[in-house]
Every structure is written in structure tokens, then in C-alpha cells.
Amino acid sequence: MDFSLQFKALFQAPIAIAYLDRELKYVAHSMKWCTDYKLPHEDLIGMHHYDVFPEAEAFWGENHQAILNEGLLESNPAQLFTRKDGSQFWLKWTHGPTYGENGEISGIVMTSEDITETMNEKRKLDREHQLLMDATNKAKIGTWEMNHATGELYWSQVTKEIHEVSPDFIPDVATGIDFYKPGVNQDIVTDLFTKSYTTGESFEVELQIITATGKERWVRSVLKADIENGICIRQFGTFEDITEKVMSETNYKLALRKFHDVFEASGVGMLIVDPIDLKVSQANPKICEVLNYETDHIKSTSLENFVSKEEFPRLFNSVTDLLNKKTDSLQLNINLRKSTGRYVICSVIGTLIEDEQGNPVDLVIQVIDISGVKKKEEELRSFTKYVEQQNDRLLNFAHIVSHNLRSHSSNFEVLLNLYHKETTVEDQNNIIKLLSSSSNQLSETISHLNDVVAINTEKIDLSNIYLKENIFHVMENISTQIKQHHINIEVDIDDDFTVAASQAYLESIILNLLTNSIKYRKKDIQSKIHIKAFKHKGRTRIIFQDNGIGIDMEMNGHKVFGMYKTFHGNMDAKGIGLYITKNQVEAMGGTIRVESAKNMGTKFKITL
């Protein structure tokens, strides 16, 4: 057989092929053999294989011998080789024996195909596929595919995980649908699956499944279909577990509703306010009640409108501190303006709601009307002060009483002792006189004390007294004294001026002040007394001024209204007059003060 023609034709073969004789010398080859291997030669006939491919001996030596001796036939669909220069290539190759006319092994035939490109392409696809798999795994999105030609249903790993089945679970359409929650869910998915099959439409739906372990899960299922020539050949899609998302949404909605209910029903006034411009976005019924406005009026107004100009900086600073995280919450007592224009003192507490990035979203403010509380506080404070004062007065009084009573009683004791020691009748009579005197003093003291106690304990009725009339009445009673000492009394009071007071006390006070002024007048000048009265901030002020010898306030100021305190050495000064006057004024709920200086007259200021 003449193979030379065939060999010639072989040269143009579209594959790399080479024939070697038993000495591994080339007898024929295709051009591609040279080009594929990037050989420098075009014609290898007669050349030794190992000369052309120096590495071949080490690698293939044994194989070649095996082929020649035993007729070994080998192939590899894809093998990676590295050239001398380090570059790599993939080869699909076969080598085997050639046979001579008599069936003896005449040589080796080798074919190879450089499939590097194909392999790279494949590897690229593999890589892409892997990436997709990874991505979907990370996104926990499963895929599924129904091949209608083969009737096979494919579930990806993630899809199986979502259904909580083992990796080697083999799904079919019926069981697949069964996983959906019986009832509405199954009905919908069946319906859509069928529709997609018939029309090729795509669908996206959120439904509930029951996993293999009995858990309820929410899934987002995407259904697509490939239609070819009016027949659906393939349906596929994705499968995503959205349980968490749904749950948090449901929880969120529930929390929102809970908050809304609390907000509306709260007995505490509540406002939702923008933290930056303080605009009210929501107001609950209670705050509307406190401020006496309709909800709509309060909404969309800035909180600034409900606070006075003077107080707004305080609110502003508190909010700023809150926003700058200097404080955890806002807390202050501030006056809020009602619809009537009046202000009500409120306790304001605010907390900031932030989003996930920590940006302020809302300021939730609670408002409590504390005017009642404040009033009680004030009342308590005032009452405590009053009680303290009473206690002081009482203590003082107690000491004075004990002192005075002791003075007299101790005198008794001593006098009686002395009586027994006196030898003459004259001396004894002397003692008796002194005892008598002491006894009188005791009686007087007790009488004074009775007066004082009476003033402090009896309930007095206040009525509207015509002041001017009252003063004239007193002046009449002491008219002799006034004439005798030529006292000039000026009464600067309107005829119809009234004061809420006790008739008796008022007379007693006027009498005392008048007699004092007369008693302590300057002997060398015309004595003048000036009485005037007026209303000031809802209270009555009576000013009683004389031009007498005055009081050294520095030395005696603290004793003026004291009990039994005298400082002029006046014979008929008991030192109790002003004490009683003060008690009477205070019993009527008023105050009395004195302004004076030595030789500069005296001024009494009474407030009722």
C-alpha cells in the first residue's frame, strides 16, 4: 500500500497528527503538528522525535516503548502542560500503535489538540458559576429549575436549606408545592406556577411555607418560564427566606400601634416634636387639654410659640445639650402658654429618638401640669415658715413668762425669810409693804400675760372698718391729754377709706401709738403727729409719724417690740405696750415696722 498520497494529504489535516516509525523517527505529520507546537521546522520527516521534543523522552519514553511492544493505546481528554518558558497549555491527546501489513506494530501515531482556549473558557464559566453560587449562598437566595423536557426539578443547596431538607433530597413539583402552607398559600403558588407555565409570565410573590421540621417561614418566590414555540420547556426562579424581614416588619407595625395607643390614651400630655425646628408633629388629647387647644392648632406649630420669650433660651439650651449628647434626657420646669393667654407651670421631660446612624429623628416630650404641686409647695413653705415663727414666738414668750413670774415669786420667798429675821415691828411692816407691792406686780404681770395669750389664741373676726372714724373715736377718748400737751394730730385719710380689721384691736393699736407719741414727745417744740393710710398691692398701709425724741435704733432697735423692754427710763413705761400692739397687728394677719433715730421722731408702718 502506498501511503505517500495519504501522507501528503495528511499534511493538510486540520488536526495535529504525527506518525513515527519503530525508531521514533517521523514518517509523516500534519502542518498543524508543527504550528501547534510552535516548531521552528516545517518538515520533520526523518527527524527523531526526541530531537524535536527534548523533554519528551523523560516524560513519554516509557509510554512509547509500551506502545511499540504491547500496543498500548492512551488518551487524555485534557491535560495541563508547562513549556520551557513557563507558559501553560491544555492538550487533548491520543497516542497508539500503527500496524503494518502483517499486523505487526510498525510505529506510533500521535494526535493532539490544543484545547487551552476551550479549557480557559470552561474554567472562566466555572469560576463565574462558582461566584454566582457563592453570591446566592451569601444572599441566601436559592434557585430552582423545572426542566419540562426531562421532568426533573432541581433545587439549589440554599433552596434545600430553606426547606430544611437534606442535601441529597430529590424534589418533585408535587412535594414542592406541598411545602407551602396549606390553604391560601398553596392555592396561590399552584395558580401562579400554572399561569407561568401556560403564559410564560414572570411572577414574584411572598408566601409562607412549612419546612421539613415543621417551622413556618416566609419566602419570596420568583417564577419565570422559558417558552419555545409555544411550549414551555423550562420553568425556573429564585427562592429567598424573608422570615426575619417580615417578622421585624410585623413587630415594627405592632410596636408602632402600641405606641400610638399609649400616646392617645396617656394621662400625661405628650408631644412629638422635630428636634431641630421644634415643630410639633403629633399632640395627644391630654396635652390639648392642658393647653386648651385643638389638636390641629398645636400640630405644625413650633413649641417656641408656647413658651415666653424670657424662658425660651432655657428650653433651647436644654434641647441643644440633648442633641450634643451632653445630657441623656431633657428635664426642666417651664411655663407654657394656654389658649387663654395665661401660663401654666409644667414639668417637661424629653427623650430623643435616633435612627440607626444615630441621627436625631424625633423628640418625644412629656408634659405634666405641676401648678397644683407648685402651689402646694409654696403653701407648705409658707406654712412651715409660719410655724417656725410661731415656735420662736412661743419659746420667747415662755422664757419671758418664766422670768417674770420667777422674779416676783422669788421676791416673795426672800421677803418672807427676811420677815422672820426682822426684830422691830417697823421693819416688819416694811417687809409687809414690800410683799404687798410684789404681789401687785405679780398680778399685773399675770394680767398682761392673759392679754397676750388672748390675742394669740382667740379667733378674731375681721370686718370692714372706717379707719378715719376709728381714729377720731380714740382721739376723743384721750382728748384731755391731747389738749393738755398741745398735740397737733393730722389725719390724712379719706372718709370712706376702709380696712379689714378687728374694731377692738384697731382701737387698741391706735391708742397705744398715740399715747406713746405723746409720752415720748419733745418737750421744747410743738408736737406733731401725722397719720396717713393708703392701699398698696391689695393691702392697707397705715403710716404713723411723730416728731418726738425718737429711738436709738442701733442700741435698742431689737428691743422695740420686745416684752418688758423699756429704754427711756420713763416712770410709767411698762415695756409691754408695743409688744401687745405687735401681737394684735399680727393676729389680724399684718406686720408692723418702725423707723426712727435719736431726736428724729418715730415712724410706725403698719401693713394689714
Binding site: S402, H403, S407, S409, S410, L415, K421, M555, K565, H568
Partner: protein, 133 residues
């Protein structure tokens, strides 16, 4: 016992009468002068100092007196410079603890005696005059 030159400063006439009697009877003091208030005593004290007249050894001082009371007198008295040692005894009907405390503030006040003053107490006062209480 040496007889002491004594001043009694008290506005209660009966009290001063009785004390004077007791002191004289029991020979506890001689040359007893009585002043009805702090002002009168102060004036006399100033006068005596100016004219180099002998000052008292003992002063029995009451608290509650008109014009110048016991405390005001003590304020004046404490400020007197260069004088002989005078024992001052505060004698009062007051049992107010505040008065007792206030008495401690004046180093010249040797004791605080509460009325009625017994003979025993007076004897002790007059004999102890040299030693502080």
C-alpha cells in the same frame, strides 16, 4: 472674811432691798451701792474712773433692765481698759439656756446665778471672789 465693796445693778427694787439686807446682816459686804439700770451704773463707773475714785470689788448684775440692759452693760464693761479686777456675777430670773450660753462669752462674768439667790449662794460668791469660776 474681808468685806467687799459691792454694786448691785438691778431694776427690781424689792430684789435689791432683799439682797442688800442679806449682805449686811451676814456681814458679807459693805459699802453697797444700788443702781436701777445699766445706764446709771455706766455713768457712775465712768465718773469714778475719771476722778480716780475707788471702784467696786464685786458687781451683781441683772439682765433685764430698761435703757441699758445687762448685756449692753457688759459690752461697755469689757471694753474698759486699765482697771482693777472686778468680779461680775450675773443674777437673773431667766432660765433661758441661751442666756447661760451668752454669759460664757464674757470673761468678766464669773458666774451665772438664778434667782432666788440663797444665803448659801451669796456667801459662796462673796468668799470666792478672788478665784474665777
Amino acid at each position: 472674811m474681808e468685806l467687799k465693796h459691792t454694786w448691785i445693778i438691778d431694776d427690781d427694787a424689792i430684789f435689791t432691798f432683799t439682797v442688800k439686807k442679806i449682805l449686811e446682816h451676814n456681814k458679807l459686804a459693805n459699802n453697797i451701792e444700788v443702781f436701777t439700770n445699766g445706764q446709771a451704773a455706766k455713768i457712775q463707773l465712768d465718773k469714778n474712773i475719771e476722778n480716780n475714785i475707788k471702784l467696786p470689788d464685786v458687781i451683781l448684775l441683772d439682765i433685764n433692765m430698761p435703757i441699758l440692759d445687762g448685756w449692753q452693760f457688759m459690752n461697755y464693761f469689757s471694753r474698759l481698759k486699765e482697771r482693777k479686777e472686778i468680779m461680775v456675777y450675773l443674777i437673773s430670773s431667766s432660765i433661758d439656756p441661751r442666756d447661760k450660753e451668752k454669759a460664757k462669752l464674757y470673761k468678766d462674768i464669773r458666774a451665772f446665778v438664778v434667782k432666788p439667790v440663797t444665803l448659801k449662794a451669796l456667801t459662796e460668791l462673796m468668799s470666792n471672789s478672788k478665784s474665777p469660776v
